[in-house]
């Protein structure tokens, strides 16, 4: 039996899609309005699996995981200009970045199953741990 715990995190931040190798005109033509500095209210659904603590009935370290995610991954980016932190701030890059950071801060005994990032209501990006490919993708909790 596999138990997966999913937590939704919210991140509001600014970004602009641009490539420093390109001229302003080329950037404008490639990225269109996304070249302008703008913001998103990202919704990030992080799924982890691990061992159920038989005594407490909780997935071991799940509270600790939520706290670390907030403190180490999300708070530093909250309300900030993401380009100050990453060279690429596309949804594709951001979801991979959060996936890697989640793996770094994850308490031992937990494993990342997937990270699903909603940039807007209309587009989302999913990275799945290849170990858990058979899991169905999360949908936005409706």
């Amino acid at each position: 039996m596999m138990l997966v715990f999913t937590k939704r995190f919210r991140l509001s931040a600014l970004h602009s899609l641009s490539n420093s190798d390109l001229s302003e005109e080329e950037n404008r033509s490639l990225f269109g309005s996304c070249y302008q500095i703008h913001g998103h209210s990202y919704n990030i659904l992080v799924s982890v699996t691990g061992i159920l603590d038989e005594k407490t009935g909780l997935l071991s370290h799940r509270e600790n995981f939520v706290e670390l995610m907030n403190k180490k991954v999300l708070e530093p980016l909250q309300g900030r200009y993401l380009n100050d932190f990453f060279t690429d701030t596309s949804g594709e890059a951001l979801v991979q970045n959060i996936y890697k950071k989640t793996q770094e801060i994850l308490p031992s005994g937990l494993d990342v199953v997937k990270v699903l990032l909603f940039e807007t209501q209309k587009n989302r990006f999913l990275v799945t741990n290849p170990k858990y490919d058979h899991q169905r993708p999360s949908t936005l909790i409706s």
Binding site: V4, K7, S47, T56, G57, L58, E63, R136, I141
Partner: protein, 137 residues
């Protein structure tokens, strides 16, 4: 072609994460912010996903009317109850959302036994908008 069918049902219940016969400080250290002296409640959403082949006569993997009867019969005993006291199963098992999800997975599995061609794929239990537990084989 084999396919998956998901059906939702809502139920509400109260619970407390605490060991009985233990002082408050020990409960706080075991459960952190999840411990509260009088417990709390959730508006749970259960999503059950079954897997099977559409029936030749009806075209359905399972008649939703029958699926609803199963989902209602497993959630009704929990609905508007204080799990620790009112539900036999949770007198000895901590009524965490993890355990509620596992309980529902087991109960639905046993109700599906009479349907030889259908198996339970997964149970997803939503505590609200931000927290979700999924149990699968």
């Amino acid at each position: 072609m084999k396919l998956k069918l998901t059906r939702k049902i809502n139920f509400c219940c109260g619970q407390q994460y605490a060991f009985s016969g233990v002082d408050e400080a020990s409960n706080k250290s075991a459960f952190g912010r999840l411990y509260s002296p009088n417990g709390w409640g959730h508006n749970y959403i259960l999503e059950a996903t079954i897997e099977g082949y559409p029936d030749k006569t009806s075209g359905m993997v399972m008649n939703l009317r029958d699926f609803d009867v199963i989902l209602k019969s497993v959630t009704d005993p929990l609905d508007h109850q204080f799990l620790n006291k009112d539900v036999e199963y949770f007198k000895n098992v901590m009524p965490t959302s993890e355990n509620v999800a596992i309980y529902l997975y087991k109960e639905i599995t046993s109700h599906l036994k009479k349907y030889s061609s259908i198996s339970l794929h997964s149970v997803r239990l939503l505590e609200g908008e931000d927290t979700m537990f999924e149990v699968s084989t």
